[in-house]
Amino acid sequence: MSTATLEPRVQAPRNYLNAEYGWKSWLFTLDHKRIALLYMISITFFFMIGGFFAVLMRIHLIEPQGALVQPETYNKLFTLHGVIMIFFFLVPSIPTVLGNFLIPLMIGARDLAFPKLNLLSWYIYIVGGLFTLYSAIAGGVDTGWTFYTPYSSTYSNTQVTAVVVGVFINGFSSILTGLNFIVTIHKMRAPGLTWFRMPLFLWSIYATSIIMILGTPVLAISLFLLALEHLFHVGIFSPALGGDPLLFQHLFWFYSHPTVYIMILPAMGVVSEIIACFARKRIFGYKIVGFSSVAIAVLGFLVWGHHMFVTGQSVYAGLIFSFLSFLVAIPSAIKVFNWTSTLYKGSISYEAPMLYALGFIGLFTMGGLTGMFLASLATDVHLNGTYFIVAHFHYIMVGGAVMGYLGGIHFWWPKISGRKYPQGWAALAAAIIFIGFNLTFFPQFILGYLGMPRRYAFYPAEFQVLNVMSSAGASILGVGYLIPLIYFIWSMRYGPVAGANPWGAKGLEWQTSSPPPPENFTQIPVVTEEAYAYAAEEKTSRG
């Protein structure tokens, strides 16, 4: 132990990035910060693959008869786009990158409770990803990311087994990550850090972990049964022997609806942190925002049947699920109102993270409100299975979760890398993404209402104008996503040194140096104040 690190808050030359060198020091690391970076690199890789498939799809759909590929290929494109983006990018994104990096820093701990398990989770994720990539290379898979039976179990002759095994394996990465986070948040908090002093990011990650733990196993078992059925052609999801195809949908959506909250809840946590920092205000209604995260996690489990209103599910079950789906809208609305109120009488500055956060609120509001069309039985009958659904969930997942992820990366990048990135470029990228996103997905709401079904490789000519608009937006969106990639890489070498706390933010993670030392804190901090004590006298030194 060098003496330099024993002195607190000195810009120590030794940090988690330069403490060791060589590929072994990364691939066998137990440091949560390095594992976070491993995840960041891997999910960026998968994001680019998934994004590439999306671009091909949008180019294809410029012409009604399809401009680029055969229908079979198009089916594989949207399937792999969905599988990769959901299971290998969105679900892990904020929890594994920002959660891994920040949880120990935010609660004042040296690491997560189970560092080996953490590294194991990453390897499980990679193995799952390799299976999926193998399936893509070995001919692709064409079932849609929902794997509906009996198409997936009996009729599809593509690489169903490989991709199902990949997603199954990846599920355990999710389970172990959630388990690790819950134990860490329960057992490793620094002295004085009570539940109601925790940053809201931790509340949202905690709620997310609950879903990961309770939902993912059900996905695993339903995929296990699906794979058995696919291999042995006997089973419970195909009607040949008296099985019920809807049973698969029940089991699948029991996980896959709450999964939406796995994606959006952490983004909500990120947004709470950013808004508090750049408005220099404690989050309005802190406790209610915290509890609403948990409420969303719990209620999110009760609504899966709204994916099945037209599938032959009993109408009475539809009634119950519709009612419960409306309930989950309420905590989401409460969050939006509280974030907006946080700005009231604040001191608002517009650095890049704040732009992403505000963009998140806008897009999430639209995504959430359009969910009402789908929770309502009569309108869902018309809109289910159309582009309206596609637009709605992209507003939540891309407009919400990806905006939140990018906002979080912009917010904590100085902490992660120790460097600043060019604010002007970041603001420009945020604007391009916001515009490109809306141009891509807003026309799809109209397309859906007009009746264009999703997953169509070609379509009647009257839908062309809106499809072209959507494709044009996608090209703008694509550019918007590339810009941050460039300036983040640039900043690692050429960016100005950030210092411990470039934004003047509260929270334990800003009290240690940037990048943090391997052990995070030279002395375990003692927490004496509430979260977001921006109004109190400035205590942290500003770098």
Binding site: V218, L246, S314
Partner: protein, 109 residues
Amino acid sequence: MSEQIVPVKTYIVVFAGLIGLTLLTTWVAFIDLGAFNTVVALVIAFCKMLLVIFFFMHLRHSGGLVRVVLLAGFFWLALLISLTMTDYRTRSWTPAPDAWSTNAPPTHP
């Protein structure tokens, strides 16, 4: 460690109880109780589970948090089964198809 050390005798008694319940459930299977065979079998299984959880797994000495975690697990399992059943149990409530009405008058063999 503040862990309680349970006397060997307790374990033996619990084990004997478990064996007894196993014999009981097997014996009951040979008696015709109609639909209650299933109920009795599940109640006995539930009792056996409680014995294992409370004594072998030391839930008796575990903190509240562990109990909450376990209860959450069972609660969510109940959610999964009961909400899925809302579909299956109510499918037949939908009235049987309406009277057969076509333009052609019904024919008789």
